[in-house]
Amino acid sequence: MIAEILVLIFMPVFVSFMGLLFMGIQRKITARVQNRIGPPFYQQFIDVMKLFSKRENIGHNWVFDIGPIFAIVGMLTTMLFIPMGGFRLLSMDGDLIVVMYLLVISGLGMALGAGASGNPNAGIGVMRGLTLMMAYEMPFVISVLAVMVYYHTTSLAEIVGMQSGMWALIILPLSALVADMALQAQFGKKPFDQPIAPAEVATGPIVEYGGKYLGMLMVAHSIGMFVEAGLFIDIFLGGGLLFHQPGIIWQVFNFLFWVLLVFALYTLAVLVNAIMPRYRIDQAFVFYWKWPTIIAIIGLAYALGVSVW
């Protein structure tokens, strides 16, 4: 019990730390891809430190303040309901659907704050974000549904447990492919970074957020990275369970492997990001509702066929 509580307290700290670290590393990687030297790997920590140490933070009204607070609340809460490698955390108290809805709190709270800033760019950014969400949810939900139908459960912990023999990635490769495509948009990486496109809508929803607000958003983003990638890992990559022996040591190893998988997934997204231009929002929508959706439906039909017959 106490160990569990300790884990629950430790996880958020660790995850936000690792998230910032990964983001710093990814900046470096992007720079190398673009033939630059790039910032030091700890650059993200400096940025967050600076943002929190700003002498002045500019807000608009109390609704505006809700944005970053909700962003962190949503991400933190969601994180605790996702099995992380060897650690199940609270995933017995909420299943995949709970997680998918908890994930929305962050975005909706953010949208609320952004809207309250009164900046039209923020409004456009939120519109793009929601539209993009509708776009990628279509293939994503269908591919996740394939997994849920295949294993006939909605519990994340169960799904993870059932993949101990073979990853869902191998059984349902098409669904996994589509889910990874959707992951690109969940990370907000090019070609699907329309909501925060700096050159078009001046970073969209966060246009009015500076100082500590932005710092909190960066923390939330780093947790979000783990949540989104972790969800994918739990669903398709066997929850990063490398070792199936009981024992705290193996749990820690499993967790480290899980973290490694998060890093790998994020790197993949960043590499795509580094060489891609940006879609228009309607192009992105049509893209997601066309090929990924078709592939996802084929994957779903396959999963249904395998599970029913």
Partner: protein, 632 residues
């Protein structure tokens, strides 16, 4: 303490109180408007209280009319199912009456407005308390009439919507009438209790036809595709203080009818005789599929609306699609999800329509793009609508999540790969359109002419706050409503859902939803986030117009283009426009105008020329005589 009310906890008391109240209210209005409003509030709230007190105890009342050609008796009853719906209806109706008292003037004819509201409430209670089909049908018709009349009170703008509503509703009611008479001619009884024992034994074909006939009527009220065309104009054009009842309470009678007849009377085993698809009846599957299709279509239309009431109207259609989906699936989880969503929808859509009424009253416009920045000016309205929208979007911690969760679980459980994605997409669409309300009305820039906006009177805000509080309560303790629903399920003979106060466990290979854990975690996370927020330097508040506009100074043209709310989802609309252009309404219009053309032709039979008339008479006679000669 309240024992003295016990004799009044009977359906006939409640209904007749309301009917008498309707008359009294109407005539009190001739004396003084304050008296009228007080009467309306007292009667409605008192009856709602009676309904609440009566609980789901079984009460039966018979009344046999002395001379009737059909030889039946009228039965009114309270049971678990009817009490659940009655509670919902009376709560929404009574509080909406309180709410409308907060406005000085709701329509041109306020006496009729309050009177009809009470009449409608009585009729709706009558429908759910009916223990036989004839009283069910009579109350159903009274309900349709009262709601139609209430819609017409909005004046000229409601003309087309009200007419369409009445035509389609009447057609639906006639469909019920045919189904009802089919049942009566077959079984010779109209009482539900009697029917429940014999309907199960009927042959599947007969069941299919009767259920379809009844279902068409219920589907009209539930705004199920393809019968929803009346709903957007009727919901949006009805008086602003009536729409909450219209969408919140009245539309629930459709799902009630389905639940009653599919599970209460026909029963699961008999339904299964009609053919099953993965363990559920084909009939239920079709209902569920129609429900999910409705949900998606209506959502896409809702996204494109700029008129707040029209947006909410399409949203209602979409959410009712969810309800029908759950009821159609018909498993323990599905029915619980459907009924719970019906309850949630009643609460949050009532709140939203109430809020919409306040917004329209404050801004004098129904266009979302005419509003803006009201969040800080009208914090209570904002907060209540925010909670309602969270419930609509299904955010955890509000009631709406629990029901959507159950619905998804039900669909995934049965591996309905057609229904589940549709439901998911409709739900994502719900984020889109519900955020549009927030963004356009409450967030963003405050137009110059709304500088003086403020929260309305307590009469208006208290019902809204009450509903918002209920939503939060249900979000934290889903066991409260789900406990009632579980008793409804066991009344219907469906395996009851396993719930405790805070959590729902569906079984071994399902996930769980523990609202208490979610709430605890969210609270703790909130503490963390707040700590982070307040440890850092306090922020300086700047004006709403002090935003980054590439250095531009926007003060002078806030109203013009600083508030991004017109054509909010333009890119999306552009994609869907080609598909949404072929609206279902066109089909109905084509049918209507086609029939008008035919009737124009029929009218020409009466040429006005007496020679023709004589010719008709002679031909008739000749044909008759020839036929008589031939046959006899």
């Amino acid at each position: 303490m309240l024992e003295f009310l016990n004799p009044m906890l009977r359906p006939e008391w409640m209904i007749s109180l309301l009917f008498i109240g309707a008359l009294l209210t109407y005539f009190a209005g001739k004396v003084s408007s304050a008296l009228r409003t007080t009467f309306a509030i007292i009667f409605s709230v008192f009856v709602a209280f009676l309904v609440f007190l009566s609980g789901s105890r079984d009460v039966l009342t018979y009344w046999r009319p002395s001379a009737s050609p059909m030889g039946f008796r009228f039965v009114l009853s309270i049971n678990a199912l009817s009490w659940f719906f009655a509670l919902m209806i009376s709560m929404v109706s009574a509080l909406t009456i309180v709410y409308s008292a907060g406005f000085g003037k709701n329509t041109e004819k306020d006496n009729a407005f309050y009177g009809l509201n009470l009449l409608l409430m009585g009729a709706m209670l009558g429908v759910v308390f009916s223990g036989d089909m004839l009283s069910f049908f009579i109350f159903w018709e009274i309900m349709t009439l009262a709601s139609y009349l209430l819609t017409t009170l909005a004046g000229k703008r409601a003309e087309k919507g009200a007419l369409n509503y009445m035509i389609i509703s009447t057609a639906g009611a006639y469909s019920i009438l045919i189904g009802m008479t089919m049942i009566y001619t077959r079984f010779g009884t109209l009482e539900f209790s009697g029917l429940a024992s014999v309907m199960g034994g009927a042959d599947p074909m007969f069941l299919l036809i009767t259920l379809s006939m009844l279902g068409i009527g219920f589907a009209v009220k539930a705004a199920l595709a393809p019968f929803y065309v009346w709903a957007p104009p009727a919901y949006s054009e009805a008086p602003d203080s009536f729409t909450p009842v219209f969408s919140g309470a009245l539309s629930k009678l459709g799902p009630y009818g389905f639940t009653l007849f599919m599970y209460g009377i026909v029963g699961l085993p008999a339904l299964a005789k009609m053919g099953t698809f993965r363990g559920i009846s084909d009939f239920g599957y079709i209902i569920a599929l129609l429900g999910s299709i409705t949900a998606v279509i209506a959502t896409l239309y809702a996204i494109a609306q700029d008129d707040i009431k029209k947006l909410l109207a399409y949203s209602s259609i979409s959410q009712l699609g969810y309800v029908m989906m759950g009821i159609g699936i018909g498993t323990s989880i599905g029915v619980a999800g459907g009924l719970y969503h019906a309850l949630n929808h009643a609460i949050f859509k009532t709140t939203l329509f109430m809020g919409a009424g306040v917004l329209i009253y404050t801004t004098g416009s129904r266009k979302l793009s005419d509003m803006g920045g009201l969040g800080t000016k009208m914090p209570i309205t904002f907060l209540t609508m925010l909670i309602a929208i969270f419930a609509l979007a299904g955010i955890p911690m509000t009631g709406g999540f629990g029901s959507k969760w159950l619905l998804y679980e039900a669909a995934i459980d049965k591996k309905f790969v057609l229904i589940a994605p549709l439901a998911f997409i409709a739900s994502v669409g719900a984020f889109l359109y519900s955020f549009r309300i927030l963004q356009s009305a409450f967030l963003g820039q405050l137009p110059e002419r709304l500088k003086g906006a403020k929260d309305p009177s307590p009469l208006i805000t208290i019902p809204m706050l009450f509903f918002a509080g209920l939503l939060v309560l249900f979000g934290i303790a889903p066991g409260i409503p789900l406990g009632i629903i579980a008793s409804v399920e066991s009344y219907l003979g469906i395996p009851a859902l396993n719930v405790s106060t805070y959590s729902v466990y569906l079984g071994a290979n399902f996930g769980a939803y523990n609202a208490f854990t979610v709430m605890t975690v969210i609270t703790l996370a909130l503490l963390v986030a707040l700590a982070l927020f307040f440890i850092a330097k306090k922020s300086r508040k700047v004006g709403q117009t002090d935003t980054y506009m590439a250095g531009e100074v926007p003060e002078h043209h806030v109203d013009l283009y600083l508030h991004y709310s017109m054509n909010f989802y333009r890119p999306l609309e552009r994609i869907f426009a080609p598909y949404l252009r072929n609206r279902l309404e066109r089909l109905y219009d084509a049918f209507g105008s086609g029939y008008e053309l035919i009737s124009e032709g029929i009218r020409r039979i009466y040429t006005g020329d007496v020679q023709h008339y004589v010719y008709y008479v002679m031909v008739f006679l000749a044909v008759m005589i020839l036929a008589g000669w031939w046959w006899l």
